[in-house]
């Protein structure tokens, strides 16, 4: 059954350097790195030692609390480094890829929910499933009331999943089918995908969501279809990660290939790259940057992605790699009163409203203002298409008022849902960090 959801709140923003719909393939060589931080809420314990040989699909680290929850290597080769930070916190495990790639094989005759769960755990794909509340790696012992996936993103410079899906339709079908044995699966798609994608999703409830960013966030889908109540758990998954599951079931091996959008104003030829997760960013951006200084490389899109640098590695969850100007070399006089024709603002005291929605902006990473208390009212609500008083929720978190956070619906949100509001906020508060802080506090106390 297909249902339609129309949203009004939010903001679409077009940035320079949208990836062209063509792809190249990154050869598997060099160091691949898997970072536990990409699996939030996961306490890692390495199960390999430096120098060990490893196949693609064999575990690198497991969860301390739940050892059957594993994160596996995307490549075969030998473990070149186990990088630890302060207080021996595990930062990453690096694997030097071998010339000949070998995959661990899995038998995939699974049919029941428990079979599927243990297969996903064994193959390290379960770690890609997140749960709400708290937006952390899901707990395999839970029984979710539903599994939610969105197959599109309205974030600026985001990956176009329809393009990533080309010639993998069967994998999507198989992945959704497997998940539907565990719980009811709901998939959110955009109106453009209705004809191509909906027929593949027989085993799921399909919702066509139209509206501006963050309409593609899975939290919006949940809030509008089956909001989370206290004591309930839902699981969420990126659409491309459903393909990982499909590949495992169809081919019997772990294939963590992403169709990565390499995009942004500082990229010479923005396009897609087929690459494994953890790939070196220097290889992904080789000979493809306008300049090497005063740029910001982001694992993900400019709204929810995490800042990294040329020596970093592709995050396990990033579906795009974006490069924008840092802007730390720009000095602007009296900027707060100037017309700033090339800057974007939701406020009509600037002139972006005159330039139409099609205009493409080249924004840098400057904050363009100082942090203040919340002054304007309703600013966050305008960009959060959920039945939640965002400003009040943020204040409840800032005052660490657990009961009020709960009452105002913190279980339903993830930091990414506040990304657009954080962009538009005139008080320049770090809303995503604040929401994460609130979720962590509640998880610890609860």
């Amino acid at each position: 059954m297909i249902r339609h959801i129309k949203l009004k709140k939010g903001l679409d923003l077009r940035l320079k350097g949208q990836a062209a719909l063509s792809f190249s393939t990154l050869p598997v060589e060099g160091t691949y790195s898997v970072m536990p931080d990409d699996f939030y809420g996961f306490k890692p314990r390495p199960v390999v030692k430096e120098g060990d040989s490893i196949k693609a699909g064999e575990p690198l680290f497991v969860s301390k609390d739940c050892p059957e929850l594993k994160v596996v290597s995307p490549v075969s080769g030998h473990v070149s480094a186990i990088v630890r930070g302060e207080r021996r916190r595990l930062l990453s495990i690096n694997v030097e890829a071998s010339a000949q790639q070998e995959h661990k094989s899995f038998s995939c005759s699974a049919a029941t929910a428990d079979d599927i769960k243990s297969l996903l755990l064994e193959a390290g794909l379960f770690a890609f499933i997140r749960q709400r509340p708290f937006d952390i790696v899901a707990n395999p012992q839970d029984t979710p009331k539903g599994i939610f996936v969105t197959a599109f993103s309205k974030m600026p410079l985001a990956q176009d999943f329809s393009f990533a899906l080309k010639s993998e339709e069967e994998h999507l079908k198989a992945g959704i089918k497997a998940l539907s044995t565990i719980a009811k699966v709901s998939v959110g798609i955009s109106p453009e995908q209705e004809e191509t994608l909906a027929p593949l999703l027989d085993d799921a409830d399909v919702y066509v969501i139209s509206g501006p960013n963050p309409a593609g966030n899975v939290g919006v889908l949940i809030n509008h279809t089956d909001p989370i109540n206290k004591g309930e758990v839902v699981w969420t998954l990126g659409a491309e990660e459903v393909l990982f599951i499909g590949r495992l079931l169809k081919e019997g091996k772990v294939d963590l290939t992403r169709t990565l959008a390499v995009a942004g104003a500082e990229v010479k030829k923005p396009a897609y790259v087929k690459t494994l997760i953890g790939a070196p960013i220097s290889a992904l951006l080789k000979d493809n940057l306008h300049r090497t200084e005063h740029i910001r490389i982001i694992n993900g899109n400019p709204l929810v992605g995490i800042k990294t640098d040329i020596n970093g590695h592709l995050s396990a969850r990033a579906t795009e790699l974006t490069v924008i100007p840092e802007g730390d070399d720009r000095d602007e006089i009296l900027g707060w009163i100037m017309p700033r024709l090339n800057d974007f603002s939701t406020n009509r005291s600037y002139f972006s409203w005159l330039q139409g929605r099609k205009k493409i902006y080249n924004l840098d990473a400057r904050i363009k203002g100082g942090e203040r208390h919340i002054i304007m009212s309703g600013e966050y609500d305008r960009y959060l298409p959920m039945d939640i008083y965002a400003g009040y929720l943020i204040k409840a978190i800032l005052t660490a008022d657990l009961d009020r956070m709960e009452a105002l619906g913190i279980y339903e949100v993830a930091p990414e849902d506040f990304a657009v509001a954080e962009f538009a906020d005139s008080s320049k508060l770090e809303l995503q960090r604040i929401v994460r802080q609130g979720l962590d506090l509640l998880r610890k106390e609860g």
């Binding site: 600026p156 909001p227 109540n229 206290k230 309930e232 982001i298 400019p302 709204l303 800042k307 924008i324 840092e326 802007g327 730390d328 720009r330 000095d331 602007e332 006089i333 009296l334 900027g335 707060w336 009163i337 800057d343 974007f344 603002s345 939701t346 406020n347 009509r348 005291s349 600037y350 924004l363 840098d364 990473a365 400057r366 904050i367 363009k368 203002g369 100082g370 942090e371 203040r372 208390h373 002054i375 304007m376 009212s377 309703g378 609500d381 039945d387 008083y389 009040y392 009452a407 105002l408 990304a419 962009f423 538009a424 005139s426 008080s427 320049k428 770090e430 809303l431 995503q432 960090r433």
Partner: protein, 385 residues
Amino acid sequence: MNFIKKTFDKARPAFNEGGKLKSLRSVFEGFESFLLVPNATSQSGVSIHDAIDSKRIMSMVVIALMPAMLFGMYNIGYQHYMAAGLQGGLMEMFSYGLLALLPKIVVSYVVGLGIEFVVAQYKHEEIQEGYLVTGLIVPLILPINCPLWMMAVAIAFAVIFAKEIFGGTGMNIFNVALIARAFLFFSYSSKMTGDDVWVAKESILGLGKDLPDSFTCATPLAEVGSGNVTASLNDIIVGLIPGSVGETSVVAIALGAVLLLWTGIASWKTMLSVFVGGGLTAALFHATGSTPLEWYEHLVLGGFCFGAVFMATDPVTSARTEGGKYIYGLLIGVIAVLVRVLNPGYPEGMMLAILFMNLFAPLIDYCFVQRNISHRTKRAKANNR
């Protein structure tokens, strides 16, 4: 551009921790971020930001106040020249008003910003822009004859006790400018109301001439109680009547209102409902014979327009929920007219209405937020059954 940057870079060490002028650090940073957009970039969260910031918002409000301020200056001169029986050109009257008002604006900013600088330095925070607006509003809502020292005392009181002790701009419960006005109103009421305070009486730098102490002139709103309003509706709308400096001209205030609504800085919901509430209440009283004024006359007289446009819509002290804004605005309009009509001692009610509703805005919001909360609790109960 480079010159400005170099000057700041050169001066910075002296203001840093351990430098000679470190006690002026907040002032230095205030000026730097005023002249140069800080090129600090985000470290976590979103990597790109909207160009809007509170400097921009506050300066838009200041720009919106400009027509009312400029007209106020002209009207100070106009009223003085009328009272003195002098003939004067537009420029002459405007210059007179400029000279009469300028010291007030300067004193207002010096006192208020001075306190802001000290607090920012003490709290190791950036200077907040909120006072840019308050500092201009205060001289505009006072009678021109209010002595400078009184205004200075009132501003110091309001900034410290209505704003800073709550935590600064964004945390205050009451509108700071109105607290300054209320302070003067209750402490020095002879200088704030009556027939003696609305027309400037001294000659300034050779402009105008000294009026006798016995000269008085009532505002049209005060004349309502004692008999008939002498000013024509035309004069009232244009603003050529005695009154607080910035409040008289409906036209000038309307220009500001357009800018505030267009930029979305003031909420149209609040502004509209103030007028609706005031209009309906006035119409009701007029129908029952309690007030001789028509409903529209109530809306254009006194501080009603200025209050509705610039003070009721203050985002910090007004209701913050969208539904709450309607109720908040409506009640301001109702109470303002209620005070005007039913209170024999004092002709104007806008200040008290807004302050009163400032106090109740959190309660209105509470009801709306609580509705969302109980909705969620009910859903949880229904599901867990």
